[in-house]
C-alpha cells in the first residue's frame, strides 16, 4: 500500500469540504400515525403530491398513494419493521422516478433504478417519472415495421410490429417466458453491422420480472448472457421476495426505460413477465390501503392499471423521431380460464394475443402456440412482403387441417383429398416446431414455409420433416445463397427467387436420405 502522509490527508479533506455549502435546509415533514403490512399512515405532509417519494428513517423510502383529509397513506419500499409510530417522514419533492441513460443496458436493476448486479452505480444525469401519460394520436403513426421474434409460427401467422402490444397468454409451464426470451435473443441480429446495411434499426430490450423466483430471474439473465443478448437488454427485477409496492411499480419503470429509447428515435421492446402477479401485488396494497374491493377482490381501477401501462407502447410519427416501443405482456391463466378478470381485461387492451396450450405442449408441439385462436390485429403490415406472400396459404392449410383433424382417426377410410389435407397439415405442424433459444432468421423462415405450403414435404415422413428442413436450408445456403440474400435485401419474393427455390427443392428431394 502506498504511504499516505498526514498533511496529504488534510489537503484532500480540505478539497472535499471546499464544495460544501452550509445553508439551512428547508423541508416538509410528517409524523407516522400507524404502520404495518407495508403501509404507513402519516399525519402532516400537507403539501405532498400523489405518488411522490417520501423518506422514512433507517433509509426506508415510500410512495404516497392515498391523500386523505387528515392523513396520507404511503406504501413502503422497505421493511416496515424498521419504522415505528411517531417517526418523522420527509418529503423528497420528487414524484417516483428512475435515473436512465444508455448505461442501463446490460444491467439488472430494481424498479427504483438501483443496480442489483454488483457492477457498480449506473451513471445517469436525468430522472424520468415512472408514471407518464401515454402519447396522443398526433404523435403516433400506424405500426409498419416488423419485429422478428425468430419463431416461425409467430412471424408467419401472428406477426408482431414495432410499436404493437401483443399478449402472451397461457397456463403455467407452457413456455410463455421462452417465447419472450427467444424474441430478445433474436434482436441480436438487429444490432449487427449486417442489419445496418439492410436498414434494420436496432431494438433495445427490457425484461421486467415481476413476482418471480430470484433463481428464475438469475437463469434468464444467464441465458441472455450466454447468447450475447445482455449487451442490449436491461432486466428490471422485482422478485416475489420484495414488497408488493415494488412489484406494482416495476412495469412502469420498465415502460419508462423503453420510452427513453423510443423518444430518442430508437426502438425498444419491453416484456412484462407477468402482469397477473402485478395485478395481485396491486390488489394487496389496495386492500391494505382500504380501497373497496371489486370483482375477484381487485380494486375498481385494475383495468386502468393495465391500460395506462400498455397504452404507452407506441410507434412515433416521423416528426417525433419515428421511434417505437413494443410491449409483450405475459398473463398466466389458471387451468386455461381466459374468462377470468385480468386475462379478459388485458386481452381487450392489447392488439392481439398468442395462446399457449398445455395440451399442445405435452403433445410435443413446441412452442405450444394455438394458431387457431391466436391473432395479431396489426396483421400483414408488420410482415415483410415475402413472408406475407407465403404465410397466406400456410394459414389456410392449417385452418383446413384443424377442421378435418378430428377425422384423422378414420385413416384410410377417408377420401384422397382429405387424406392429402391431413398429411400436409401434419407436416406443417411439424415444420413449425422449434427448439428454445434457437430463433430462425426471417429469410430461412420464408424458404421453409414456402417449401411446406408447396407440397415439397409430401413424400417425407412426418418424423423427418425437421431433418429435411434443416438440411434443405443448409443446402440452399451452400448452393444458392443468393436466395437468402435477395429476400434480405428486397424483402420480397420475386419470380426469379421463387423459381430458384423450386428448382433447389426439387434437386434436394432427390438427394435427401431418410432416417432409418
Amino acid at each position: 500500500m502506498a504511504e499516505v502522509r498526514p498533511d496529504e490527508v488534510s489537503a484532500i479533506l480540505r478539497k472535499q469540504l471546499a464544495g460544501f455549502d452550509s445553508e439551512a435546509e428547508i423541508y416538509d415533514v410528517g409524523t407516522v400515525l400507524q404502520v404495518g403490512d407495508g403501509i404507513a399512515r402519516v399525519y402532516g405532509l400537507s403539501q405532498v403530491m400523489a405518488s411522490e417519494l417520501v423518506e422514512f428513517p433507517n433509509g426506508v423510502t415510500g410512495m404516497v398513494l392515498n391523500l386523505e383529509e387528515d392523513n396520507v397513506g404511503c406504501v413502503l419500499f422497505g421493511e416496515s419493521t424498521l419504522i415505528k409510530e411517531g417517526d418523522m417522514v420527509k418529503r423528497t419533492k420528487r414524484v417516483a422516478s428512475i435515473p436512465i441513460s444508455n448505461k442501463v443496458l446490460g444491467r439488472v436493476i430494481n424498479p427504483l433504478g438501483e443496480p442489483l448486479d454488483g457492477k457498480g452505480p449506473i451513471q445517469a444525469e436525468k430522472f424520468f417519472p415512472i408514471e407518464r401519460k401515454a402519447l396522443g394520436v398526433i404523435a403516433r403513426q400506424p405500426v409498419k415495421e416488423s419485429l422478428q421474434t425468430g419463431i416461425a409460427a409467430i412471424d408467419a401467422m401472428i406477426p408482431i410490429g414495432r410499436g404493437q402490444r401483443e399478449l402472451i397468454i397461457g397456463d403455467r409451464q407452457t413456455g410463455k417466458t421462452a417465447v419472450a426470451i427467444d424474441t430478445i435473443i433474436n434482436q441480436k441480429y438487429t444490432h449487427s453491422e449486417e442489419a445496418k446495411k439492410y436498414g434494420i434499426k436496432p431494438v433495445f430490450c427490457i425484461y421486467v420480472a415481476i413476482g418471480q423466483k430470484n433463481s428464475t430471474i438469475a437463469q434468464v439473465v444467464a441465458k441472455l448472457e450466454e447468447h450475447g443478448a445482455m449487451e442490449y437488454t436491461t432486466v428490471v427485477s422485482a422478485p416475489a421476495s420484495v414488497p408488493a409496492p415494488l412489484q406494482y411499480i416495476a412495469p412502469y419503470s420498465g415502460a419508462t426505460i423503453g420510452e427513453f429509447f423510443r423518444d430518442n428515435g430508437q426502438h425498444a421492446l419491453v416484456i412484462y413477465d407477468d402482469l397477473s402477479k402485478q395485478a395481485a401485488a396491486y390488489r394487496e396494497l389496495s386492500l391494505l390501503l382500504r380501497r373497496p374491493p371489486g370483482r375477484e377482490a381487485y380494486p375498481g381501477d385494475v383495468f386502468y392499471l393495465h391500460s395506462r401501462l400498455l397504452e404507452r407502447a407506441s410507434k412515433l410519427s416521423e416528426e417525433e423521431g419515428g421511434g417505437s416501443l413494443t410491449a409483450l405482456p405475459i398473463i398466466e391463466t389458471q387451468q386455461g380460464d381466459v374468462s377470468a378478470y385480468i386475462p379478459t381485461n388485458v386481452i381487450s387492451i392489447t392488439d392481439g394475443q398468442i395462446y399457449l396450450e398445455p395440451n399442445l405442449f405435452n403433445a410435443g408441439v413446441r412452442p405450444a402456440i394455438n394458431v387457431g385462436i391466436s391473432v395479431s390485429r396489426v396483421g400483414g403490415n408488420a410482415q415483410i412482403k415475402a413472408m406475407r406472400k407465403v404465410a397466406g396459404s400456410l394459414k389456410l392449410d392449417l385452418a383446413q387441417f384443424r377442421e378435418l383433424e378430428s377425422f384423422a382417426k378414420f385413416g384410410s377410410d377417408l377420401d384422397k383429398a382429405t387424406q392429402r389435407t391431413l398429411a400436409k397439415g401434419a407436416r406443417l405442424v411439424e415444420l413449425l416446431k422449434q427448439g428454445v433459444y434457437a430463433p430462425v432468421p426471417v429469410e430461412k423462415q420464408v424458404v421453409a414455409v414456402f417449401a411446406g405450403t408447396n407440397n415439397y414435404f409430401e413424400s417425407i415422413p412426418v418424423k423427418d420433416v425437421k431433418k429435411f428442413e434443416k438440411e434443405f436450408l443448409e443446402y440452399i445456403e451452400v448452393k444458392s445463397p443468393e436466395i437468402f440474400e435477395s429476400i434480405r435485401t428486397t424483402k420480397a419474393l420475386d419470380d426469379v427467387t421463387i423459381a430458384k427455390i423450386k428448382s433447389g427443392a426439387e434437386e434436394f428431394l432427390t438427394k435427401f436420405k431418410r432416417s432409418e
Binding site: 472535499q16 469540504l17 435546509e25 423541508y27 392523513n71
Partner: protein, 180 residues
C-alpha cells in the same frame, strides 16, 4: 366516520358562530381556557370520555368550569356537544378550532429549538426574519436542546427550517459517502 371530519364540522360551526357574533377574540380566549384546563387535568379528560358517567353530571361539571366565563354561546355549544354524545371529541374540536382561527388570522405557529438559550433580541430578530420569509404573522415558542449541537431548527406546521449543526454533519456524511 373519521374523527377529523366530525371535529372539523363542529369546529367550523363554532367558528362561523364566533364570526357571526363578531366576537372571535373572546371566543378563542374562552376556547383556549377550556383547552388549557383540559390539557392540565387528566381527570377531566377521562371524566369526559367515560361513557358510564351520565350526561347531566357532565353538564353540571362544565357549567361549573365555565362559571367564571361570561360567554353563554360557548357554554351552549359545549352543552350541545354533550347532548349529541360527542363530548369525547371535544379536545379534537378545540384543536381544530384553534387551527381554523390561526388560518383565519394568518398566524403561523412555530417551535424553535436551539442549543443555547436565545437572548430577547435574538428572539425578536429571528421572529422578524421568519415573518419576512412566510409573509405571515409568526408566533414562536422556544426550546433548548443541546442534541442539535449548534445553530437552530424551526418547525412551523409541516415545514422545517433546519440550520442545526447535527443536520450539517449529516449532509456532510451523505456527501462524502456519495462521492465514493
Amino acid at each position: 366516520m373519521s374523527v377529523f371530519r366530525v371535529a372539523n364540522r363542529y369546529a367550523a360551526a363554532l367558528m362561523s358562530l364566533a364570526v357571526e357574533k363578531n366576537n372571535l377574540e373572546k371566543f378563542s380566549e374562552d376556547v383556549e381556557f377550556i383547552h388549557n384546563t383540559m390539557s392540565q387535568s387528566k381527570e377531566l379528560r377521562l371524566f369526559l370520555s367515560n361513557p358510564i358517567i351520565k350526561k347531566p353530571v357532565k353538564l353540571t361539571v362544565f357549567k361549573e368550569i365555565l362559571k367564571s366565563r361570561t360567554n353563554t354561546d360557548l357554554a351552549g355549544f359545549v352543552e350541545f356537544i354533550i347532548s349529541k354524545n360527542r363530548e369525547d371529541l371535544l379536545p379534537d374540536i378545540i384543536k381544530r378550532f384553534l387551527e381554523l382561527r390561526d388560518d383565519k388570522l394568518g398566524i403561523v405557529r412555530g417551535e424553535v429549538t436551539c442549543a443555547v438559550e436565545l437572548t430577547k433580541e435574538q428572539q425578536i430578530n429571528l421572529k422578524k426574519e421568519l415573518e419576512n420569509y412566510t409573509k405571515k404573522k409568526v408566533e414562536l415558542t422556544f426550546r433548548v436542546d443541546n442534541k442539535i449541537i449548534g445553530g437552530f431548527l424551526v418547525k412551523a406546521g409541516d415545514t422545517v427550517i433546519d440550520a442545526s449543526i447535527t443536520n450539517q454533519l449529516k449532509l456532510l456524511r451523505k456527501k462524502f459517502s456519495e462521492q465514493n
